[in-house]
Subunit: 322 residues, 2 copies
Amino acid sequence: MEQKAIFGRVAIIGQGLIGSSIARAATHFSVVHNLVLTDASSNVRKRVAELGLGLVTETAREAARDADLVMICVPVGQCGPVAEEIRDHLKAGAIVCDVGSVKKAVVRDITPHLPKGVHFVPAHPVAGTEDSGPDAGLHDLFVNRWCILTPTENSEENAVRKVAEFWRALGSNVEQMSVERHDEVLALISHLPHLIAFTMVGTASHHEESTDSDVIKFSAGGFRDFTRIAASNPTMWRDVFLNNKETVLEMIGRFSEDLHVLTRAIRRGDGDTLLEQFSKSRIVRRRIVEAGQDTAAPDFGRHQHSAKSEAAVLRPYASSFE
Amino acid sequence: MEQKAIFGRVAIIGQGLIGSSIARAATHFSVVHNLVLTDASSNVRKRVAELGLGLVTETAREAARDADLVMICVPVGQCGPVAEEIRDHLKAGAIVCDVGSVKKAVVRDITPHLPKGVHFVPAHPVAGTEDSGPDAGLHDLFVNRWCILTPTENSEENAVRKVAEFWRALGSNVEQMSVERHDEVLALISHLPHLIAFTMVGTASHHEESTDSDVIKFSAGGFRDFTRIAASNPTMWRDVFLNNKETVLEMIGRFSEDLHVLTRAIRRGDGDTLLEQFSKSRIVRRRIVEAGQDTAAPDFGRHQHSAKSEAAVLRPYASSFE
């Protein structure tokens, strides 16, 4: 890679899946001179040092000192406290960026803490896996994935440009939209699917506990795909739902209406309505494959990767941040 | 493979994903002497002949003639009509088997048509991909997957043993249970997840149509995994819901209750309830990986298979049967 460094010193606060992926990607694509990393968990800091992802500091404020770019990669509910901790240690002209899955609450929580002359560019890389912690990070996690910037009226144009350049250098496609639009679209295509997956896993678990049925054994019938989504970081998701409450509640309402329509079709034996809806789904799927947002490989059967990944799932020292 | 053939002549009626996978697997594992294949669609029959999967006949009755084992691999709603068509062409002692995702309705629809001396062993291989049609078949689709046999009181013991032997030879683990228990467990871990996925895709589509939002563009945030499940064969799924109606409605009811509980937690800002439920999901996921029903590879990021599969999705000549 012959990439020219975009930032001199970059601090990444929070070394979970996203934070440690940014660290790996920044090194892999040579976009920074110095990486300074930290995490609220001492176990995570120790592991990040072992992995050699960058210089590790004990605290967020030490990491932020003299940084040209500070990436806050912690659960949404922790963004305010982190901003408060680092506020007096940011250098003039520094850019602060986050990676939160909701933007309105993050802007609300971070902005009041930032001194004049520090630029805040809210961002959300729409990428991830169901794994957590510093070992789960991947240097190519952001390649061909969207990173959404939601600059506020206070975001300086030059800072936005540099942050966009940074994400493009990590392989992302960059899109800009308003905070409100972001939170609405993501509520629909990310927050709602996760809530439904968590619910489905709960429903199956209750049944298994009460009847000793083998929901695990026969999970290849569809259920296992929900458990994959529902294996995502619990703390991160709690914070997402609490911080995009109104919009998520609206989307749950719409989903419930649509579920009622299909439920009624089943009850009435209305096969035409079912067939019509199911056929439409197929078209949506094709458009996603065509848009390069998924592969056409028949994944349901899991033939492409029967070899066990070296990355273990559900590491015990999952970041208390991410 | 040094497998001894278990059956002489095997007829497979319906050459969709499952039927054509059985054909491929039977050849690959050398478990039959002669394979006779057919499908209601002339395009599919033509394609099966091109693929050289076995001898192709025009009609189900021709295929069934002199067969030792007749596998009915059509959507659940077509099982009765197929049984009626082949009834007078089955030889004495022949075994009839199906692969339907619901068992009570299939037993109800097939049994009355079968002459004395013909043995019926209802079966359900819990395996599949989101693709359809004869090109989608995979010779190892059933390897390490469960095949559930639901013998009725009329199923002859020797016939059940041979069908179990057949499925084991294709790589499956075989389990027996009652028709009722099958339909309940599968309603929960397969039918309900599919209905939810179809619903979710519908909800997102409505929103996209009305607001021109980019649900496709940002689908990697979780939504795309639902579209994968919801890309499964529409006709097959319509028939499943119509033929396991009461049990599916019961499961929808339970899911809705659980969704209400999480919705209320979000509305009230009750983070503890959310965190508790989300953390439980992670444990279920770990058990599925440990049970060998999925890999631990971080699939959300789709790093294992960025290369495009040679198998195209959504083939235009998807079987009218499967």
